[in-house]
Amino acid sequence: MVPTSYYIALSGILFALGMIGVLTRRTAIMVFLSVELMLNAANIALVAFARSWGDLTGQTAVFIVMTLAAAEVAIGLAIIVAIFRKRETTNVDDLAAMKG
């Protein structure tokens, strides 16, 4: 049996990788890919805690998170396609029209 803490550490490292990606990548699609990494890191932690506590709540939550991720990707990519049609770019630095 692999200890739960190993899984949590792996999840934390993967989350940090995703965070670095979100902060450094400049194409909207790459930012999205990094967000998916962070979601998966959270999923690993949830499933590891579900095993640790012997409770299925964590696994059910992961199922709901997967559905959320699918919806988020569908809407997000639709927004990216719409923006690309209008402005011919997916560079997040150029899309600062809503900057306060």
Binding site: Y6, A16, L17, T24, I29, M30, N43, V47, G54, Q59
Partner: protein, 213 residues
């Protein structure tokens, strides 16, 4: 079990590094596919067999196909060149990531299982579809219904966001249409003018599109 964890964990991290470091967007997406499949394997080692299958089907299958489709549709697989508008953003992000990962690792090491893992694993029932489904339709009935509404909204939203404005047949202003209309009575010119009119209106629409872009 330990060997499986080390292999899958290493694959997960390698895929993650490829995802955030690859210059080409398609390579990054393929790295993420590797990560997702490794995570499915990790789910399997954690007695979550249904989630492992769902991860492969929904994530590595459907979501990543959508990603690759959009990357190729937008031809966005070239990296953006030029100077970063924020100074030292890479260094700062790397530092922040190392600090975050270190903090998580320290937290993880200090975590104590509330009861023996072998005993707790038995209560999961292997994470099969039947036990997950039972939890989903009893304790999580309200989130389940909320998610179904969310999916409906996502479908409608995605369709509404990417649809092009429907071209109207009478888009051409009246003055232009009059110019294009041949003199009444000349049958030959009338027969030939129809494609010209269509061509003109297409041209008009293209001009509009360019202005909008």
């Amino acid at each position: 079990m330990m060997i499986a964890f080390i292999l899958l964990g290493a694959l997960t991290l390698v895929g993650g590094v490829i995802t955030i470091a690859a210059r080409n967007a398609v390579h990054a997406a393929l790295g993420l596919v590797g990560t997702l499949i490794s995570v499915a394997g990790l789910f399997a080692t954690l007695n979550a067999s249904f989630l492992a299958a769902t991860q492969v089907i929904v994530y590595a299958g459907a979501i990543m196909v959508l990603f690759l489709f959009v990357i190729m549709l937008l031809n966005a697989n070239q990296p953006i060149s030029g100077r970063d508008p924020i100074p030292f953003v890479r260094e700062l992000a790397g530092l922040g990531g190392v600090v975050l990962a270190g903090a998580f690792t320290i937290l993880a090491v200090s975590y104590k299982d509330p009861r023996p893992v072998a005993e707790a694993t038995l209560a999961l029932g292997g994470g099969s579809a039947s036990v997950i489904g039972e939890t989903l339709l009893t304790r999580f009935l309200l989130p389940f219904e909320a998610v179904s509404i969310l999916l409906l909204v996502a479908i409608v939203g995605a369709v509404a966001l990417v649809q092009r404005p429907v071209p109207q047949p009478d888009d051409v202003p009246d003055s232009e249409a009059e110019l294009l209309t041949p003199p009444v009575g000349s049958a030959i010119s009338r027969g030939g003018s129809q494609p010209v009119l269509q061509h003109q209106s297409l041209q008009h629409r293209n001009d509009e599109g360019e202005v909008r872009a």
